[in-house]
Structure formats: C-alpha cells, structure tokens
C-alpha cells in the first residue's frame, strides 16, 4: 500500500471552479486508493486537493502475497516508487529497498522523513527498523532478518514530506506489502 497525504488547495483550483472548468463533485479529494493483487496504494491528503492531480498519482504495484524465489532480484513498481526485495538461497536475511518515483520526487520540497520499516515475520511483530531523513532521491533500504524458507514477511513504511502542489502542504506516502520466501532457486 502506498499512501500520500497532502495539504493545500491552490488558487488555480479556486479559479477553475469559478469559471466552471471543474465540477464541484470532481474538484476535490482527500484520498485516492488503488489495489493490485496483494499490494495496495493509498494516497490521502491532510486537506482536499484537486482530484485530477490526485488521480495522476494512482498506482498499481504488486508484491502482495507474492511468492519469491531465492537468488532472484524482485523489483515492484508503481507511480509512487519502486520497492525491491531479494534473498540469497539458504540465507536468513533479505535486503529491501524503496525509491520514490521521479514524478513524486518532483513535488517534494526539502527532505523526506522515513518512519522506519515496521514488519511482521510469520505474523509476529518485529522491531521497527531504523528511521531516516534523506533527500527525495535517496534509496531507502533495510534488511529483514531471521528468515528461512517459506517464511512470510508483511511490511509497512511511511514517508512524509512537504509538497509544492497548490499552496503546498504535507504529504504522507505509505507502502505496505506481503511476500513469502519460497526457498526455490530463481
């Protein structure tokens, strides 16, 4: 799941409403949700923003319920970013990464704050991974540990940043997913 929260509605929207370019019913939104398989993308805004702009951030990325083989690098893309995961055969650790997409990077003002990856191993909560404050193009990354074949990992991380849409505001991008490491090579 990806969530983006944004704040601010700009003068452009107000003008568009005034001249009838955008109907009130479709003018504003506080949430955009997309689900594809086991991976969801949800964008929420702290104040309403133009729906048409919000809809452009819809996405459809997918490792939800994915069965992942070992010695294989898996990238999962959507319009908000790219999540990757890999595990070497027989190893107990699986490094992951997430990079915010160029289109979302372009609306970021200042730094992005990552909460830290929260995750469950076979349904059991694990300690949250380290938080980071980095530039928008940073390759956020971490490692799931204590794994073995057929172990399942559910994860969620949250990224917040100021954005420059409309009059500006705060956006929150949340990624969630669920995958199982099969232990089969390739």
């Amino acid at each position: 799941m990806h969530t983006i929260k944004r704040g601010g509605i700009g003068l452009m929207l107000a003008l568009a409403l005034l001249v009838g370019l955008v109907s009130p019913a479709e003018a504003q939104t506080t949430q955009v949700s997309v689900q594809s398989g086991d991976y969801q993308s949800l964008i929420t805004f702290d104040t309403p923003v133009p729906r048409r702009e919000a809809d452009q951030l819809k996405s459809a990325m997918a490792p939800v319920g994915a069965m992942l083989n070992c010695d294989h690098y898996y990238p999962f893309y959507d319009t908000n970013g790219r999540y990757t995961i890999q595990r070497a055969c027989g190893r107990s650790r699986a490094p992951w990464s997430f990079q915010i997409s160029p289109s979302v990077q372009s609306i970021v003002v200042g730094l992005v704050r990552e909460r830290g990856m929260a995750w469950k191993r076979n349904g059991v909560n694990q300690p949250m991974q380290k938080w980071h404050t980095e530039t928008a193009d940073y390759l956020f990354h971490g490692t799931y540990s204590g794994l073995a074949d057929m172990y399942n990992v559910q994860y969620q991380d949250v990224f917040t940043f100021r954005h420059n849409l409309g009059s500006g505001g705060t956006a929150t991008l949340t990624i969630t997913g669920d995958h199982t490491f099969t232990g089969n090579r390739g």
Partner: protein, 93 residues
C-alpha cells in the same frame, strides 16, 4: 534487565565498531526531529562529530532476545557507518 545491563549490551554491539564515537546515550526520549508517533520505550543515540545515529531499541508489544538486539543494532549501525562522512563505504561487521 537493568539500565546498566542495557548499556553494557548496547556497548558490546557498538563500541568495537565505532572507535570514533563521541557521545553514547540510551534514553526514553526520541530524537527532537522524529516526526512520527511511536510506541517506543527506549532509544539509542550516538554521535560522531556532527553526525547522529538514532535507533529505536525497545518497542511496546515487540520482544527480541539480546542476541537479536545486538544483531539488529550492528546491522543498522553498519548501514549508517557506510554512509557517513567519517567512514564512507567502510565495512565493519
């Protein structure tokens, strides 16, 4: 586990990896600029020069063995060291 036990445990994980260490603190206070609500009992704060490392050590509802805690600290610390100005790219685990 007493505070002293925690400090010893954390130092076992950290001190040999980070001879440059300037400050070392274990406290219940999150970093001042931590922007999220967290359910954490304990934080580790380290500094080397102007660079800072903050890690959640304890989290309500989550348990880990001392060995798992040490492994997690060292793993996160290695990432931080490799991206630091004082030891860019170095592998210390």
């Amino acid at each position: 586990m007493t505070t002293t036990d925690v400090l010893k445990l954390v130092c076992n994980a950290v001190c040999d990896m980070l001879p440059e260490l300037d400050t070392f603190e274990v406290s219940s206070k999150p970093p001042e600029d931590y922007p999220f609500d967290g359910d954490f009992d304990l934080w580790l704060h380290l500094t080397v020069g102007e660079e800072r490392f903050d890690l959640q050590l304890g989290e309500k509802g989550v348990s880990e063995t001392p060995e798992e805690l040490i492994e997690r600290i060292r793993s996160e610390l290695q990432d931080w060291i490799a991206e630091s100005r004082f030891a860019w790219g170095q592998l210390r685990v």
